[in-house]
Symmetry: C2
Subunit: 218 residues, 2 copies
DNA sequence: ATATATTTTTAGGTTAGTCTAAAAATTTTA
DNA sequence: TAAAATTTTTAGACTAACCTAAAAATATAT
């Protein structure tokens, strides 16, 4: 069994490993968890003894298969709870993160199975992130950052990169939601801003926004 | 804000205060929480500084009004989650306790409000215990232990005293549920066992069982 | 009322998880 | 490739929540 703190470390390493297959550095983990590198070193030793990570001094860590499974299960719980909050309890997509951070640590296999059933076995959370299955497998779909689309390309909005409350509220204000069709009408070389069409409305969005929206090209 | 451990102490004291208006002894708390008296003394000092209990050495503790409100809120969350598990997620009444012990510590006022709404503002949990309102008030109904009923008296089963999984499973096996009409047909002086009628079936039950079932007399 | 038993508190220690500061190793730069 | 910068680890300390053992206070029994 893993403590709350151990679970948070596993989850952090899991997320960091998505971008790379190299060892995850002590500093990267410290930054993600807003803690000190020395604390990370301590915890890594503990996780290494529990055989959820492989660790050699000064070389970062990698999750073992066992560690990956534990981590994916926490992510699974997090994302299922997010769906539950939005679908059943009228939370908006910018309100769910902090509560799901707590709920993901509840230990009850039956509970999460029943939540999954109750929700009809969802495959993605409210931000478009895939929900791992019980074995920890995820179903990744082909998606591109909106900023990488060329003029006249279009697709469906399928996810966000930044899921901070501020960014999500901004999207709400602009009428940008998952499932919407988006077409790139113009790209400005000057500041990399875009003009897009969504619901037959023209919208000008900055590069920062375009760098945080995922599109499934059509 | 209170730690998980502090919340568990507050809840324990809250439950112990139901039976008495005297100070709750260190030993009673230790027994309830399966810990040592010395640990209880330590924690009591901390709770006393946080002004949720009144404490004088060697005289036990009492919750302050503030402490009562905090404790009642935890109990409220526990019982609402139990209803949710039974009503929405197909848990049986003997499976909910351990999960609710975890869920009761989730901190999100919106979450518990929405759960309450989603469930249609239930007043009692699956074991017949009343759910405190947001201010911590509980609606106590007139109820008697089945063991105190006289021959030929009858009433509705409205609660259990012991909510251990073993006892609840035993009740399931005998067909005893909340809401059932129960009539006392015989009382044996010899061992204080009872013969009762439930669903037009005659049942013989021991004093131990009768001491753990609450009846609303009719 | 005094001796005995019980309860409660104190004193001092442990573990998990964090921290700061300094030492050691690695990486970058010139 | 040697010096400088950065990263990582180690050493030592802190807090929360627990523990054991002993001392102190209270309650019980003769």
């Amino acid at each position: 069994m893993f403590t709350l703190s151990e679970e948070n470390y596993l989850k952090a390493i899991y997320h960091l490993e998505i971008d790379t297959d190299k060892g995850i550095s002590t500093n990267a983990i410290a930054k993600k968890l807003i803690t000190k590198a020395s604390s990370v070193t301590d915890m890594i030793k503990k996780l290494s003894e529990k055989e959820v990570v492989v660790y050699k001094k000064y070389q970062g860590v990698k999750l073992t298969n066992f560690g990956k499974k534990i981590a994916a299960n926490i992510v699974r719980k997090h994302r299922l709870w997010e769906v539950f909050l939005v679908e059943k309890l009228n939370f908006s997509w910018d309100e769910v993160h902090d509560v799901a951070e707590q709920l993901e640590h509840i230990k009850s296999p039956k509970l999460i199975d029943q939540i999954d059933t109750f929700l009809g076995f969802p495959t993605h959370d409210p931000h478009g992130d895939p929900i791992p299955d019980k074995e920890g497998n995820i179903n990744t779909i082909e998606k591109s950052l909106l900023s990488t689309l060329l003029k006249n390309e279009s697709g469906i909005c399928v996810g966000v990169n930044d899921s901070s409350s501020e960014f999500l509220k901004f999207l709400d204000k602009k009428g940008i939601k998952l499932g919407k069709q988006i077409t790139v009408l113009e790209k400005e070389d000057f500041d990399d801003s875009l003009t897009i069409r969504i619901d037959d409305i023209k919208l000008s969005i900055s590069n920062k926004i375009a760098n945080n929206l995922y599109i499934k090209k059509s």
